[in-house]
Amino acid sequence: MSAVHAGPEVYGVVASFRTPEEVLDATLKAREAGYQEMDAYTPIPVEGLTDALKFDDVRLGWITFLAGIAGGATGLWLEWWTSNYAYAHNVGGKPLTSWPMFFPVLYECTILFAAFGATFGMIALNGLPKPHQPIFNAEAVNRASTDRFVLCIEAKDPSFDERKVTDFLNKLGPEEVETVMTSEGY
């Protein structure tokens, strides 16, 4: 970082709506108008919104799956290694590798690791924990956890122009439109 503070920059322009249908409609129109870098902030998951944003992320499923496999492998390896090598002893004449008896621990380890994968994978992919984010500088987003549905067209979009975007969003019939700055409020 340079020693001279650069001052706040534009993060994006937000428009707030009162219903999920309106924000979905606005997102589709913004997509048609050619905007790509967008996100919509809503109090409930809105069906169709990720399609409208042309966003898909299947990594979490893979993370969970691989974590589960890793868990199962760890559990089985632990049981096999400890009962054959680290602490091999005869229990009631049963074979050292009594695989049916090994199943419950293998099973629980699979679930445990997969649950860790799903939870921490979700948190990491969402870039959390991050208690403050530029988007929170928008007044409307503070109500996006209650009853406002907010569309943000971000400054990193190639065709972003603050004035044009503001005009465009105003035409969609929002409750209000505001420009969000990056470092305000720090």
Binding site: P20, D39, A40, Y41, T42, P43, I44, P45, V46, L49, T50, L53, F55, D56, D57, L60, G61, T64, G68, G75, L78, T82, S83, A86, Y87, V91, S98, M101, F102, P104, V105, Y107, E108, C109, I111, L112, A114, A115, F116, A118, T119, G121, M122, I123, L125, N126, L128, P129, K130, P131, H132, Q133, I135, F136, N142, R143, A144, S145, T146, D147
Partner: protein, 465 residues
């Protein structure tokens, strides 16, 4: 046959907005003046219980587990009865949050958070017993596999080791699932909080949740996968607990029906506890709009169904004792059923009364709609399920194979103190929870309300044509 619209109307009646849902549910946490004398009274009872628990544990640690009634031949007493009882109660939470989510049962939304919290606290209560039963709980980490100077490792062929893995996994996954479910609600509370410390605390807990569509996308993936992972846990944890018995050679324990019948019993007991807690809390916090009579009706039906599975289990135990032709099994059966002639036969008949006879009243729709009746039936089931474990454990152990080693089991004051103490601890934790965290899932209620509106519109449109 009611339509979907009218069913939804039954689940969330009245006129409301997104904001009013926040106000009704979130303000139970944010407006601390809503917790009056009732909260304080019940919380104080719980707090007394916690003290009783601490004194009992201290006395136990100071003297050793000889202060319990456990003896030879009854090595398992109140500790294991209560362990199994508590862990069973926890199962309703996971069933409601996981299996009913996968089955897309919208009615689960208003009770899942509450039931999940119940799961966590019940598993905490359960976990105390085996840890204390080790005699030296300060070295309880020996139960875990880790490289140590003794070069010893767990014996993975033992169901008791499976139990360690099952219960710790269950506890961990329940906490993860509960916390993931809380994140959006914590963000709502952060944004609605008026004082800075409250905002900072909820802000930290919410991890910076922004409600972005991209975040929601991954969030919904995570929650459906956690549900998918918890569903087999519901079935496996109590199955593994039942293996502690079923894998042994003790008469009355070594039966293959144990895993399914334990799981059904767990759900039965769990729903009874959910109902018993939901009835007073709903009244005190005026949540009649969110936890409706329809919810109670459905919970009662689940309870009735699982209760019948449990009753079938009892029937099969009797049948197999006869059908096996095994002298020890037959003797055990007579020990259970011959009222007045064997030491604990009264507990078997108490079990029949509380768990089989009384719950059948739930067949009647009028009973399912009567909260007083429902509350007392739930209490009866809780007591009945406790007797089930009492019947299984001491009756089998006092009289096993050799008459020369027959014994008797009487719980001591420390046993009873600890049991009452864990009930107090459970109430204490539940009441802290309802005061400081949203007890009904706010965002899911808003989603349910949104779907209802949507459905009503579609309905109106189709009628207009």
């Amino acid at each position: 046959m009611p339509t979907l619209a009218s069913e939804n109307e039954l689940l969330l009646p009245g006129k409301r907005t997104y904001k009013s849902i926040d106000e009704q549910l979130g303000d139970i946490v944010l407006d601390q003046s809503r917790h009056g004398k009732t909260w304080f009274t019940v919380f104080s009872i719980g707090f007394l219980g916690v003290n009783l628990l601490l004194v009992s544990i201290l006395w136990l640690l100071w003297n050793g587990i000889g202060v319990w009634g456990n003896n030879q031949p009854v090595g398992w007493g109140f500790d294991i009865i209560n362990f199994v009882w508590w862990i069973g109660i926890g199962h309703a939470g996971t069933l409601i949050s996981a299996i009913l989510l996968l089955l897309r049962q919208g009615w689960r939304n208003s009770i899942n958070r509450f039931a999940e919290a119940m799961t966590i606290f019940a598993v905490m209560c359960a976990g105390m017993y085996p840890l204390l039963h080790t005699g030296r709980p300060w070295v309880a980490y020996w139960l875990m596999p880790y490289p140590n100077v003794l070069a010893m490792w767990p014996q993975f062929r033992s169901p008791l080791v499976w139990d360690v893995f099952a219960v710790t996994t269950y506890m961990t996954v329940s906490i993860l699932f509960w916390y993931v479910g809380l994140i959006p609600d914590l963000a709502t509370l952060r944004d609605r909080a008026t004082s800075k410390p409250v905002r900072v605390i909820f802000g930290m807990l919410a991890l910076g949740w922004n409600g972005g569509a991209k975040s929601w996308h991954r969030y919904m993936h995570a929650s459906i996968m956690l549900a998918g992972l918890s569903a087999p846990l519901v079935l496996s944890v109590h199955s593994i607990v039942s293996f502690d018995f079923a894998m042994s050679i003790v008469p009355g324990w070594v039966t293959t029906i144990f895993p399914p019948y334990f799981v059904a019993g767990a759900v039965f007991a769990g729903f009874a506890m959910v109902i018993a807690l939901a009835i007073p809390i709903r009244k005190w916090y005026r949540l009649e709009d969110f936890i409706t009579m329809k919810h109670f009706d459905w919970m009662a039906k689940v309870m009735l169904a699982t209760g019948l599975i449990v009753a079938y289990g009892y029937g099969m135990e009797v049948f197999y004792a006869w059908y096996s032709g095994n002298a020890f099994e037959t003797a055990l059966l007579f020990n259970r059923v011959r009222f007045g002639q064997t030491p604990y036969s009264w507990s078997f008949w108490a079990l029949m009364l509380f768990n089989v006879v009384i719950p059948n009243a739930l067949w009647l729709p009028k009973v399912r709609q009567n909260l007083t009746a429902l509350f007392w039936i739930s209490m009866s089931i809780s007591i009945g399920m406790w007797f089930e474990r009492y019947v299984i454990i001491p009756i089998s152990l006092t009289r096993d194979f050799l008459p020369s080693s027959f014994g008797f089991y009487t719980p001591t004051i420390v046993d009873i103190g600890m049991f009452a103490g864990t009930i107090g601890f459970f109430i204490f934790m539940m009441f802290l929870f309802i005061r400081f965290l949203p007890m009904i899932n706010i965002f899911e209620m808003k989603e349910l309300w949104h779907h209802m509106k949507h459905h009503d519109k579609a309905h109106a449109a189709s009628e207009a044509h």
